[in-house]
Symmetry: C2
Amino acid sequence: MRYWEDFRAGDVFIHRSAPVSAQAITEFAREFDPQPFHLDPALENDGLLGGFCASGWHTCAILMRMIFDSYLEGSSSMGGPGVGEVRWLKPVRPGDVLELKSTCLETRASASRPEMGICRFTWDLFNQSGDHVLTCTGTNFFGRREAGAS
Amino acid sequence: MRYWEDFRAGDVFIHRSAPVSAQAITEFAREFDPQPFHLDPALENDGLLGGFCASGWHTCAILMRMIFDSYLEGSSSMGGPGVGEVRWLKPVRPGDVLELKSTCLETRASASRPEMGICRFTWDLFNQSGDHVLTCTGTNFFGRREAGAS
């Protein structure tokens, strides 16, 4: 079990995804973001996004799964309050394999909950060409191995 | 067709969702955020989140669908570059009906693309009890009815 005490500022976690499929892109889009450039795999060289690509929110959902698989699974995770600015730097295309670099920026005890600690991260996603496709900062809450003073 | 010129700073769009089902919460969680408090509908009075609730990223995906249904469908939307800080203020529970208030903060022409305009929004989600559950700012790109000077 990984507790709050096991994270340190400067820790880096690397995790690689399976390829993102065209079917996964269109399934997410049909439910949550049915814009033409997320629905039609045949759309090429079109508009600002250059054709068919994943919804930015789909990329965020994939990010969440990668965070889970990278360091949340088997941890004392208690959720999180939100994330900082999310930048979709490059479209995610079918077949892209994403690499997540999670950098722990800061850890601190919770002032109000002695059983909880706080970790801030920067999450960066890169595709198989090394293009930076997403950056975002966010906060994870974790249970402490030993509850501290409030 | 709604173009960039049809948005004005101060415009407010209100849109209401269908109830969020326990099944939708667990389906999203199994794929993207399989933490216990998003998977087990029987979990009550547990931990920081108080029991079973939607992944914050699921709430963001629902937000995206509500934005689409509210004012993106039938528009000249060209996508967006990202969003500002996302705050998950209250958990979203099964049965919650969400109301989206989209407030247009600013519209401006693109300096580099004469065929495009930019609109900044604040998006606020409330549940059926009036609790503020999510706030976030973001940018939408739209095609212009008449391309302007660059």
